[in-house]
């Protein structure tokens, strides 16, 4: 077993190098000028917090870049130069003033990690579906009202963070993301929990806090890999019995809903260690029952 783990870790190590800049392996340059002057073609460029409104000239000539950080600038538009960088695996445009993502984003089909958190993006083009190697997509804190149906083509996605947007529905194709492990839908405008969202066999963490969800489908129990669930600050009155099929569940936050009683067979959640029920009208008798049913769980009422 140990051998297996170490083999897996070795494989992962090789992969890990690709998804994050490694300043020990290769230099991370701080300006286009120094990158161009480098003895070998620059692969990593960090232009964070440089206060620029436009991409620096000649950025597009750095054809070997696989890591580009543009965080904390004043970019309102992602200009074409960036889409010439076809080797890019990591692109961060966090904390700028972008209002949309251009269609050319589809050109960057080697992207593994794309972070556009903290912009004013309202529109995601369907070309995002061309990013079939994308594993980490961060679109939190934007003004997105809809994801394109092609999101379902991003089949390598492990992390999809679309929290703090204006979403009230997701395309059915979302259920094609069979590798999705971490799904953050919190602080949106969802009124319903779509049954399609129960078709993520790899999903380990689901965060839908601060929405307006009133009920959950029985099939939520199909999310067999789930370890952490955040349903706090919704309008749930009860959980379906199917919920107790979440055999790997460790952390469940249901604070500030309208739950009086938990499912009868709640004791099936043998791995549950943390249950948060503060701000719910749970009766004293139910509290007593929950403590007995879940002896290994720390319960907050």
């Amino acid at each position: 077993m140990k051998t297996k783990i170490s083999i897996a870790l070795c494989l992962l190590a090789a992969m890990a190098q690709a998804q994050n800049a490694n300043p020990i392996k290769e230099p991370v340059y701080g300006s286009v000028a120094t990158a161009l002057a480098a003895p070998k073609p620059a692969t990593q460029l960090n232009l964070r917090d440089q206060g620029v409104f436009h991409l620096p000239e000649q950025l597009g000539t750095l054809q070997q870049l696989h890591f580009l950080n543009l965080m904390g600038n004043n970019l309102e538009v992602l200009e074409d130069d960036v889409f010439k960088l076809k080797q890019l695996e990591v692109l961060t445009v966090k904390l700028n003033a972008l209002r949309y993502l251009p269609k050319s984003i589809g050109n960057l089909n080697k992207l593994i990690n794309f972070d556009a958190t903290d912009n004013s993006i309202a529109y995601i083009p369907s070309e995002i579906g061309k990013l079939t190697k994308l594993r980490f997509l961060h679109l939190s804190y934007n003004a997105i009202t809809a994801l394109p149906t092609t999101i379902g083509n991003c089949k390598a996605l492990e992390v999809l963070a679309v929290d703090n947007n204006q979403l009230s529905f997701l395309p059915q194709e979302i259920s094609k993301l069979k590798k999705l492990k971490n799904f953050n839908l919190s602080y949106n405008q969802f009124n319903e929990f779509d049954a399609q969202w129960t078709k993520f066999p790899a999903l380990e963490e689901l965060n839908i806090e601060f929405n307006h969800i009133k009920e959950l489908p029985q099939s939520i129990g199909d999310l067999k890999s789930l370890k952490s669930v955040f349903f706090n600050n919704n309008r749930l009155a009860a959980l379906p019995d199917g919920f107790t099929n979440l055999a790997n569940l460790q952390l469940l936050s249901l604070a500030n809903n309208n739950i009086k009683e938990m499912p009868r067979n709640i004791g099936k959640l043998a791995e549950l260690r943390t249950l948060i029920l503060t701000g719910n009208p749970v009766t004293p008798a139910e509290k007593q029952r929950l403590k007995q049913e879940l002896p290994n769980c720390k319960i907050y009422f």
């Binding site: 190098q17 994050n20 917090d49 963490e205 806090e209 943390t274 503060t278």
Partner: protein
């Protein structure tokens, strides 16, 4: 409606407590229809409840309703008796202890209505015509022997107040002058943060009497339509001399404030200080691994064996990819300059750690490691270890420049939880840590390790203020710690989200926590609230929570006068020095470094302005050497166009990219003119005895100018001159020492050399330049007669009683003009007198044999 709901909830909680405490018999009948409760009934219930709280054995009588006298000092949030039924006490002597207030209700301050309070009081039946005056009293038992000359009354009043001690008015606040009646309105309307501030009035100790004193307060509303009213008051010694920083001795924290200024192309520091620039972005790492990245942040000085002259810096790079550099450096004591020996990156990018991101501030442990804080929580678990890759504290061993391995390989400090980490401080017990989140929940956290010196397992708590904040000021001084689950990976990955759900208070940007070496309280910077708060940790609760500094302007005493300067926004990193000065580094406002004295209070500010960062830059991550002579901080993202200035090396440096700055008193950094000092080998000598002077000046003098009053020579430029004195007396010695930088002040040691007339039979009669050595002697002595070559000399030796014990005749001095004597056979250790006769000249000399 809101009010009645509050009253009811209070009623029920008090009721249940009353029953529990009294044990068997309820103090009053349960109310069959709580919805019928009216304000007066509510007060009655509260009286009973308070009685139960205060007395372990309940007595059901009217007298039991009064509060026992408090013991001086009286803290915030104390219990007060109050009268809130609209009765005017204008014609009643209610302010003295003889007044029977046993019918009054009582409750914990703050008392009032309309805002958060511990005790809701009544404004009467008509919200459009509220009672103008509410009355409060508290008896305090005072032992005058243990009270300072002046006493602080810290008054929170919304809107106006008149305060009495034993019936005598001691001050009024926001009230008109002249007679005050029940219907007198407050002078002005109190709004916003002022509703929660404490206004401090000093009252002389003589206002009190020995024993029980009655403190009486009338709170006046601005008018009958006011939405709120609030009262609290603390009473304590006005002055705690133990907190005062004594600047008679030189200290890094004793300096003259700079003049307030917008940022300039230069770093501006106090006239008493110097700085040295080092470890700049773009410099080459000495291990050949490339160049130093930018965005320097936290900068930890980690001493080697406790040394203030040899250590390592751990420098964060708040970047993506983030990183930490380790810099070995030492103080070149000959030059008084820091010298960088080696530099390298920490490997935070291997399989176990995956990456690091936005390494912001951090902390230093007492076991010699540093901790870097990842201020980023983008999800992603690349190595599949079950922990998200970023959003953790990471402990680094500076010796190996590697992440600490506690036996499971390199790992981040998972048990402390994932969040937008900003910093951490480790308490002296090596177990308790305080840290905050900048972003996400914006909460203050506490971690208590299971094992001292090992942060890989322990319990996490989040701070919840009991009454929250209003306009950035706390509504009360008390808080509780809520335990946050952290046993599973799910718990740890989501620790901040859970903590927020469990009610942790949002402080809007917790940038740094630190512990005062003076009062042991925890101080933390809340950037979005422009304040540094402090509190006392009591384990499961916290108390004395208050604004320490911020949210207002302060008088700054500069070399050219006192000016008012706003604290501004962006208070960020905090560091205490050994005197308890709080150094605050500002990311915002004018990007100053401020220093706040430990005896600072908002009503009597003690705030200094240390430095102004060069344009475009913020200061980050200040730490000190263990002797507090040197401070290291980062200058983050200065403008590329900043202009040259001279640093302590004497070189012209431009702070135009992220760098480390070390600063100190001018005398401790860079070339300085000597500070003159010297020593003589003998301070009490005989006439004509040779005195040898030794130079003790600092900063490597290269030339000297000595002045020897009464000596021969009278001046000298030698490093170690020898001098004789011909005449008995006391004489001054003066030295000016110089080097290429300049000359010292002239140092004069007054009456330094005492020259005694050679005691003896008949003193000196014409013999010059005679020396005897060694003196004292074991027996052998040499007599030198430098002016009497070739002459015959008679030597006589007398003991203490004047008896001649030895003599030689017709000695010749020879070419060396020396006579060797051996007195070893003479009895005992004593003083002898040697008389020399040369022709018609003679002289006597004291000799000590031992």
């Amino acid at each position: 409606m809101k009010k009645s709901l509050l009253s009811l909830s209070l009623l029920f909680s008090m009721w249940s407590f009353a029953v529990v405490v009294s044990g068997n018999v309820p103090l009053f009948k349960p109310m069959s229809a709580p919805t019928e409760a009216k304000a007066p009934e509510t007060n009655k219930v509260k009286k009973a409840a308070n009685k139960a709280v205060l007395h372990t054995t309940a007595k059901v009588n009217a007298a039991a309703f009064t509060l026992d006298p408090a013991t001086y000092p009286l803290g915030k949030d104390s219990q007060w008796s109050y009268l809130d039924n609209g009765t005017s006490l204008d014609a009643v002597a209610w302010k003295v202890a003889s007044y029977d207030n046993t019918a009054w209700a009582s409750g914990a301050a703050p008392l009032g209505y309309g805002d958060a309070q511990n005790t809701l009081i009544s404004f009467g039946p008509d919200s459009g015509n509220k009672y103008i005056t509410s009355y409060f009293t508290r008896d305090i038992n005072i032992d005058l022997a243990n009270v300072a000359e002046f006493v602080d009354f810290g008054l929170k009043r919304d809107d106006g107040a008149v305060v009495y001690v034993n019936g005598v008015e001691v001050f009024r606040d926001n009230m008109p002058t002249g007679a005050v009646t029940y219907l007198t309105n407050a002078a002005s309307t109190i709004n916003d943060a002022d509703e929660n501030r404490y206004y401090v009035h000093q009252v002389p100790k003589t206002a009190f009497t020995q024993g029980v004193n009655r403190i009486a307060v009338e709170i006046h509303n601005r008018d009958g339509q006011s939405s709120d009213l609030k009262f609290d008051m603390y009473i304590q010694d006005a002055f705690d001399s133990s907190l005062v920083v004594n600047c008679d001795e030189e200290h890094l924290g004793c300096f003259t404030s700079i003049n307030p200024t917008a940022q300039t192309p230069n770093l501006i520091i106090p006239q008493e200080h110097r700085f040295q620039l080092m470890f700049k972005e773009g410099d080459a790492y000495t291990d050949g691994s490339g160049t130093v990245p930018g965005l320097h942040d936290f900068c930890a000085y980690l001493p080697v064996d406790g040394s203030s002259k040899e250590g390592r810096l751990a420098v964060n790079h708040e970047n993506n990819p983030g990183g930490v550099s380790i810099v070995n450096l030492h103080l070149d004591t000959a030059q008084s300059l820091w010298s960088l020996d080696t530099s390298e990156k920490v490997d935070l990018y291997n399989t176990a750690l995956v990456t690091t991101n936005r390494n912001c501030s951090g902390g230093i442990t007492h076991w010699g490691t540093s901790i870097t804080a990842e201020e980023a929580t983008a999800a992603g678990d690349v190595n599949g270890d079950g922990y998200q890759d970023v959003g953790w504290l990471v402990e680094i061993d500076p010796v190996t420049a590697a992440v600490k391995d506690y036996g499971n390989g390199q790992e981040k400090l998972w048990a402390m939880g994932r969040m937008n980490h900003e910093n951490v401080v480790v308490a002296a017990d090596n177990k308790t840590c305080y840290y905050g989140e900048d972003g996400g929940t914006h909460c203050v956290y506490k971690f208590v390790a299971d094992t001292a010196g090992d942060l890989t397992s322990g319990t996490v708590y989040v701070l919840k203020l009991n009454l929250g904040l209003s306009n950035d000021e706390p509504n009360s001084s008390t808080a509780e710690w809520i335990q946050v689950p952290n046993t599973t990976q799910a718990d740890r990955n989501n620790l901040n989200t859970v903590a927020g759900t469990l009610g942790g208070t949002n402080f809007n940007g917790v940038e740094d926590c630190d512990i005062s070496p003076i009062d042991g309280k925890i101080y933390f910077a809340a950037k979005g609230r422009n304040r540094v708060y402090r509190f006392k940790d009591n384990g499961t609760t916290a108390s004395e929570f208050e604004t320490f500094v911020g949210g207002m302007s302060y008088p700054i005493e500069t070399a050219t006068g006192t000016v008012s300067e706003p604290w501004g926004d962006g208070n960020d990193n905090l560091t205490f020095d050994d005197k308890g000065n709080l150094w605050m580094l500002q990311d915002g406002g004018l990007n100053y470094i401020w220093v706040v004295r430990p005896d600072h209070v908002q009503s009597a500010p003690k705030v200094l302005l240390h430095s102004s960062m060069p344009a475009g830059a913020e200061p980050t991550g200040l730490t000190f050497t263990p002797d507090f002579k040197y401070g290291f901080f980062s200058v983050q993202h200065p403008n590329g166009s900043n202009t040259p200035q001279t640093d302590a090396t004497g070189a012209e440096v431009s702070i135009n990219s992220s760098s480390i700055v070390v600063f100190s008193l001018a005398k401790d950094l860079g070339a300085n003119a000597p500070m003159a000092d010297f020593l003589a080998d003998d301070l009490t000598v005989n006439t004509n005895q040779v005195v040898t002077f030794t130079d003790l000046s600092t900063n490597t003098p290269t030339s000297w100018l000595w002045t020897f009053e009464g000596g021969t020579p009278a001046t000298s430029t030698a490093a170690a001159p020898t001098v004789t004195y011909a005449t008995a007396g006391t004489y001054n010695v003066t030295l000016v020492a110089s080097n290429t930088t300049g000359s010292s002040e002239a140092v004069t040691k007054s009456d330094y050399i005492v020259v005694e007339q050679t005691a003896g039979v008949d003193g000196v009669t014409g013999l010059n330049n005679v020396t005897l050595y060694p003196n004292p002697t074991k027996g052998n002595i040499t007599v030198e007669l430098n002016e009497e070559a070739g002459q015959k000399v008679v030597v006589e030796v007398y003991d203490f009683l004047g008896r001649k014990v030895y003599n030689t005749e017709n000695q010749t001095t020879g070419a060396g003009q020396k006579i060797e004597l051996n007195l070893a056979n003479l009895m005992g250790d004593q003083v002898f007198f040697i008389k020399l006769n040369v022709g018609d000249k003679s002289g006597s000399y004291k000799l000590v044999k031992n």
